[in-house]
């Protein structure tokens, strides 16, 4: 039997494979003729279209960039504060003094501080819970006055869209909502309309 190294046989096998003369002639004709003009034109049209779309998108996005107005943010915050006040959800921490709250609420991204206004109004702290206000983590603190009438104070970092808010008062769902800044925090107080 005729024997040969297998590598040589593999070489012989592949060397014996040839494209048909018709295929070779066709491909050579294609090369001679060059790139079909329509394919190159299509390429340029594609690039131009992509550029136009990209530029239009950038311009449109810049022109229509929808940023919430401070008034809209203030209304949203006031509504959330009023709803939270009316719902009177269960408190997570019951405290007698504000100092206790600072020790208990460790998951906030700020240190809660008692606003001077609460002491001036002779309000007594009852407890607090975690909540969110306009998407930011906040402390929801419940106070009562000498007659046991509750009010709800929210404290939140004055950052992001909350940073644009200005002090003011709104009345929402039968609740008076006051908003102000103190010691670097945004304070929101919700209480019944007297």
């Amino acid at each position: 039997m005729n024997t040969k190294k297998i590598d040589e046989q593999i070489r012989d096998y592949y060397t014996s494979q040839r494209p048909s003369p018709q295929t070779v002639a066709r491909v050579k004709q294609m090369i001679r003729a060059g790139a079909p003009v329509h394919s190159r034109r299509r390429l340029w049209i594609g690039i131009a279209a992509a550029v136009v779309i990209a530029v239009t998108t950038v311009i449109w996005t810049a022109a229509h960039r929808v940023l919430p107005l401070p008034q809209q943010v203030a209304l949203t915050v006031a509504r959330q504060a009023a709803v939270g006040h009316n719902e009177k959800q269960e408190l997570e921490f019951r405290v007698r003094r504000y100092g206790e709250l600072q020790n208990k609420m460790k998951s906030l991204d700020f240190t809660p501080v008692e606003p001077a206004m609460m002491t001036n109004m002779n309000m007594h702290i009852v407890g607090a819970r975690y909540t969110t206000l306009a998407g930011a983590i906040a402390a929801q603190i419940r106070y009562v006055d000498d007659h046991g009438v509750p009010c709800t104070l929210y404290e939140v970092r004055s950052a992001g869209q909350l940073a644009v808010l200005v002090s003011g008062e709104q009345q929402v769902d039968g609740v008076r909502v006051n908003l102000w800044r103190e010691k670097g925090l945004l304070m929101v107080l919700a209480r019944p309309i007297a």
């Binding site: 039997m1 005729n2 024997t3 040969k4 190294k5 297998i6 590598d7 046989q9 593999i10 070489r11 012989d12 096998y13 592949y14 060397t15 494979q17 040839r18 494209p19 048909s20 295929t23 070779v24 066709r26 491909v27 050579k28 294609m30 090369i31 001679r32 003729a33 060059g34 790139a35 079909p36 003009v37 394919s39 190159r40 390429l43």
Partner: protein, 161 residues
Amino acid sequence: MEHREMPDGVDTLLERAYRYAFSLAHDAAEAEDLLQDACLSILASCGSWERPYLFATIRNRFIDRYRRNRKILFLSLDRDEEQPTDMNWEAPDVLQNGLLDRALGSLRAEERETLFLAVVEGYTAEEISELTARPRGTILSLLHRTKAKLRQLLGNQQVLP
């Protein structure tokens, strides 16, 4: 249409490209289609007529076609690096009765491709690694296993002494 200069040694280039396409597809008609597709692609993109570029284009066209047909093409080859042993053994003339053709046909595309590039084109493992975007160790391992598989396939057909 825009007329062009014919690349040097076009006949040899086309033959070698066809053989590479054939090593992938193991089918004459398919290999011719791949060659034409690749040439059209190069013309459309005003690409180079250098052999490595043509081979890479053929490879990409092959992958595209098979992906479109949802065929399993290349399997994962990540194995430990093995040194290829000398598999250049003496064998009876397996060409004559079509045994080698059948044995090669039963290999996977990437096995035939690697074997072709190494044995016929004389590519180094490094060069095959560049063309196929696989680690050099994987190529060495694949080549070793392909030759062993081929020997087994031919042996099973009782052609080896």
